[in-house]
Amino acid sequence: MSTEGSRERFRVDRSGRRPAWRIACRTLGELLVTAGLVLLLFVAYELWWTGLTTRHDQHKLVAALRQEWARGVTVKDPPVGSALAILRIPRLGRTFMFAVVQGTSTADLIEGPGHYPGTAMPGQLGNFAIAGHRTTYLHPFYDINELQVGDPIVIQTRTTWFTYRVQNIPGTTARHEEIVSPDDVAVAYPVPDQPDPGKPPTLRVLTLTSCNPRYSAAQRIVVHALLVGRQPTSEGPPPALAGERLRGL
């Protein structure tokens, strides 16, 4: 048959070897399929594996923080990469709990939500600003866009529970939720969106930043909250957490 004959003609040349162009085509095809599989693996790495490593880091950070608290010493200037507080946001899940690390470098944010160094500490006058991943590394702020005015954000330190509530920041243009460009550092000023960062702050603000939209870093999504309550840890969890299942307490 003629088709059989032509197939034979392509399969081997006179020396009994496959023609070079066939080998080249097949190798190219194999490399492309391999590249596709590697890309799929990379997606699995980003969306799943990074969460596993962050979960592991979080367990270690929470354990270290509890040890530190048990020793009864508050570290005034926590080293970069160490945990400084526990963050709970009931709107993001009844068991939502993350140790906040000091620092916002790539390496810090792999461990969990990171506190912008130089911004206020929990409960202080000024802006306690935290960055967190949206889609990778256990995606702490995946549903940050779900936060509504009035939602509590609770920060636990060694001595104190701080309750912030999501809202517009009075006296500024800062809305409770903003979509900004990645270089809009004004959201983390001591007074958010206040052009003069040297002006002394009079409010106790909490700011969360994350990527926007999901799976992109084209913009930043920002949520602002104001301190509305504080109580010593000896008094137990604040009313904002009433009825919540408090993991790791």
Binding site: R26, G103, S105, P117, G118, A131, D183, P197, T209, C211
Partner: protein, 83 residues
């Protein structure tokens, strides 16, 4: 390419299959532990921080640290001229 590798694996079908699995597993481990952790932060998927225009997302980490240590009250990145 894969046929070429397959022919060079030693032993019978069983031994070839076993070594092929080991090779693939080794490659996946290498990707997950070395290549992807290096590659991930370089891609524009996941940069949750705000930072000055002068600092790239990747260089932010190195810039922020020293700036904060030298000036704890007013870090470089938060200065108005970087906004």
């Amino acid at each position: 390419m894969y046929a070429w590798i397959w022919r060079r694996l030693p032993g019978g079908i069983a031994a070839k299959t076993l070594s092929a699995i080991v090779l693939v597993a080794g490659l996946v481990v290498f990707l997950f532990l070395v290549v992807f952790p290096w590659l991930g932060p370089k891609l524009p998927f996941s940069h949750p921080t705000v930072h000055g225009r002068t600092a790239g997302a990747a260089s932010m980490s190195t810039r922020l640290g020293p700036a904060v240590r030298s000036a704890p009250t007013m870090p470089e990145w938060i200065a108005p001229n970087s906004a």
